[in-house]
């Protein structure tokens, strides 16, 4: 047992901190600090800066740009990025399709896609969820029927995050309609400029455009775009979703947002007084800080125990509690800004601080955190079933 980082890790942390606080363009970090949405261009520039430094896809095989980092180093990389207000490399590229291609794809498909994926020259979208499926992913109905050297794809995907920016989409499609649920599914890469593919925006409750529906109407896809074997897609998806859960607790960004809220609170009382003098606010913030500490330490425990590549059973705790706290901090922000929370649409000339205007849209937007990427109900199911052995 030991509290300190090793000298090597201390040096690594310093290096990462320096990189993220100096090498990522300031406008990007300012946008994050203002709690506003990043533009496509900002996301691309941010990831390309990381890729230029060779740290955009550390979890990939070294030959494709990965790093031979320890799990703790990967954790430090991720934390420092978030603390600095830097958006992590686009998950669809870095954590999802990249590892699947690198692990299951042919040499040809790796060469075609991995370099451009790491550099965000291709913006990937995710085509897993379908209407009427929800958490029951395997009940998908989009079909891919083989005709010669092509699949003809028909169906609909939904909740495609940032799909409006997508160049390509990785999809789960049903290639064997006779097989039962999880079988008969394949993992297919589709060019989003293909005829018959359309993207329709879904407006969210905060007014933002972040997710989309993607429709496939006789979209023809070369068979060479199949990853791995036909009808083995469910295995690849499980692999991908397993990756998605590792390090999934947004500790660093929540810590940053909470610290920012505390700073804001210092002059947010009537007449510029400090709301930290309000004992109920102070207690709530102190408790959130303590809960975040507990979460961060749990993440470190999980990191330390996942050296063998298998996720620690407690990783579901991270997603569950991570979103609970993420949402609690967005709620704290709304409480801190008080009646200014109403002024979401205020522009130039407004006397309401900019950070007050973004408080409620963020609060509403982050209700998604406990739904997407394995809802908190799914996480409880996993904890009860896998960890505690309680099987209904």
């Amino acid at each position: 047992m030991r509290l300190q980082l090793s000298d090597e890790d201390v040096a690594f942390r310093k290096e990462m901190r320096e990189f993220f606080t100096t090498q990522i363009p300031q406008d990007i970090r300012d946008t994050v600090a203002a709690r506003r949405e990043l533009t496509k261009d900002q996301i691309v520039r941010s990831m390309q800066a990381m890729n230029a430094a060779g740290i955009a896809v550390p979890n990939w095989p070294v030959e494709w740009g990965g790093k031979d980092w320890t799990p703790l180093q990967r954790h430090i990389w991720h934390e420092e990025m978030q603390l600095a207000g830097v958006m992590p490399p686009l998950a669809f590229n870095a954590s999802m399709v990249g590892p699947v291609i690198a692990t299951f794809g042919s040499q040809e498909i790796k060469e075609r896609f991995l370099p451009k994926t790491a550099n965000l020259d291709i913006w990937w979208s995710q085509g897993f969820s379908e209407p009427d499926a929800g958490s029951d992913l395997a009940s998908l109905r989009t079909t891919a029927v083989r005709e010669g050297d092509e699949y003809v794809v028909n169906g609909q995907k939904t909740w495609t995050t940032l799909g409006q920016y997508g160049d390509w989409i990785f999809t789960l499609v049903r290639t064997d309609p006779a097989a039962k649920k999880q079988a008969g599914i394949s993992f297919l890469l589709i060019d989003m400029t293909s005829p018959g593919l359309t993207v329709r925006p879904i407006e969210l409750i905060d007014g933002g455009h972040e997710v989309n529906e993607v429709f496939f109407d006789n979209v023809r896809v070369p068979v060479s775009n199949l990853v791995g074997e036909e009808n083995k897609g469910w295995d690849y998806a499980k692999f991908l979703l397993g990756n998605e859960r590792v390090g999934v607790a947004p500790v660093g960004s929540t810590k940053r947002t909470l610290a920012q809220a505390k700073e804001y609170a210092k002059t947010a009382g009537p007449g510029g007084t400090s709301l930290l003098e309000d004992p109920l606010f102070a207690a709530e913030i102190a408790e959130l800080e303590n809960d975040l500490l507990a979460l961060e330490l749990t993440a470190l425990r999980v990191v330390a125990h996942s050296a063998d590549g298998k996720p620690h059973p407690a990783s579901s705790v991270l997603k569950l509690q991570g979103t609970v706290l993420q949402q609690a901090v967005t709620e704290l922000w709304v409480d801190l800004v008080g009646p200014d929370a109403l002024a979401t649409g205020a522009g130039e000339g407004s006397d309401v601080p900019a950070l007050a205007r973004t408080a409620t849209p963020n609060y509403l937007n982050y209700r998604k955190a406990s739904i997407y990427g394995g809802s908190n109900e799914v996480q409880r199911q996993i904890i009860a079933g896998t960890i505690l052995g309680l099987r209904g």
Partner: protein, 381 residues
């Protein structure tokens, strides 16, 4: 002790419900209305006026219909059920209530009649940047000049301030807080309207030596009228929230009944149905408190009682609204996050109500401060 509506009140409820459920028959209809200024539907407002809903709380001699807080609560709750964007609480209960409480007979006759007819929509310009939920006004100063008065300072966010035909403005005067009537096109007044996250509108209103007419006696401290009208509006907001929560729960239970996952309806999952049960508990507890607060207003006890009742109602509504709003979305899953679907709008509106006129924490602090004034809380007078 009677919590039931009489037959006239029931008829009022049915009439308002009929009107509003036609006007807002879908989430999409509401979205169309809130997309364009002023964010609500002038025709629906006129129909509410025709029905008499806008004049309910006012004395007949002022041009109102001589009803009371119970009738107001009925309309507010129906507004909430469909989250109609019309500024009922803001224009009628709050701005109108101030005119009724503080205005001269002439002012009352002029303004309330027009408000009740639907031809004049007032707004109360009170909230000031950085003042949080203060009930006094320090950011706008009133100065007597010649035989008139002028105002200088900023109010923001002023709910409905962009569309308002008449502004009721609180301003600091010697010895307290005065109320003033200001024409929106008055000299030295600039107003900038913008959207609020719940589909509504608010405005930044700056006064620079803007001519203003005292509401009621010139130079009088109107703090008591402000406090009382805010209390009435807090309670009415409570009813609006009750209506919204009831619909959010209905939509959620309907979804759990019909939506299938893993081949069975969601209501097969006990962890979900128990949470719906807890939403019902929150709703009914809040409903009891808010209804009681309205009866305290009706009973016409002293202001202290009404303020305390308003704080109690607002605290309970804040807790219930957060609980029900969040759970409604969570139990819907992804679709609950979309603007096309309704529950997200219900949560937005509940959040807006929570933070207008003091959130739960604010009212809890107020109640904590008077803890030592009583042994037990007795709801009966």
């Amino acid at each position: 002790m009677d919590f039931t509506l009489d037959s006239e009140q029931t008829a009022l409820r049915d009439a308002v419900r009929g009107l509003l459920s036609k006007a807002y028959d879908s989430s999409e209809t509401r979205r169309q209305v809130t997309k364009t200024d002023p964010g609500w539907d002038e025709k629906t407002w006129s129909r509410l006026a025709e029905m008499g809903a806008l004049g309910l709380p006012f004395a007949e001699e002022d041009g109102g219909f001589g009803a009371g807080p119970v009738e107001v609560s009925i309309v507010a709750e129906e507004i909430g059920r469909v989250i109609a964007p019309e500024p009922y609480v803001e224009a009628v209960v709050l701005a109108g209530g101030l005119v009724a409480a503080a205005g001269t007979p002439e002012q009352r006759a002029e303004i309330i009649g027009a408000l009740a007819e639907g031809s004049l929509v007032p707004a109360f310009a009170h909230t000031e940047p950085g003042a949080r939920y203060s009930e006094d006004a320090r950011g706008v100063t009133a100065t007597a000049s010649g035989d008139g008065w002028t105002l200088t300072g900023v109010k923001e966010p002023v709910l409905g301030g962009g569309r308002a035909d008449l502004l009721v403005v609180s301003a600091s005067i010697d010895g307290g807080t005065g109320l003033f009537l200001v024409q929106p096109d008055a000299t030295g007044l600039t107003r900038t309207s913008y959207t609020t996250f719940d589909g509504g509108r608010a405005a930044h209103i700056a006064f620079a030596g803007t001519p203003a007419t005292p509401l009621g006696e010139a130079g009088a401290d109107q703090s008591a009228a402000i406090t009382a009208s805010i209390a009435a509006a807090q309670i009415a907001y409570g009813h609006e929230a009750i209506g919204a929560m009831a619909t959010a729960l209905e939509e959620t239970t309907a979804y759990l009944k019909t939506r299938k996952q893993f081949g069975v309806p969601l209501m097969t999952f006990q962890a979900l149905t128990f949470r719906a049960a807890d939403m019902y508990v929150s709703l009914e507890l809040a409903r009891s408190t808010v209804t009681w607060a309205t009866l305290v207003l009706l009973d016409g006890g002293d202001t202290v009682d009404a303020l305390e009742a308003a704080s109690r109602a607002k605290l309970q509504v804040s807790k219930a609204g957060r609980h029900i709003g969040k759970e409604a979305i969570q139990l819907h899953g992804g679709i609950g996050m979309t603007a096309e679907y309704s529950v997200g709008h219900y949560m937005s509106r509940l959040t807006a109500i929570d933070h207008a006129l003091g959130d739960g924490r604010h009212h809890l602090a107020a109640l904590s401060a008077t803890l030592d004034d009583h042994g037990i809380v007795d709801p009966l007078p």
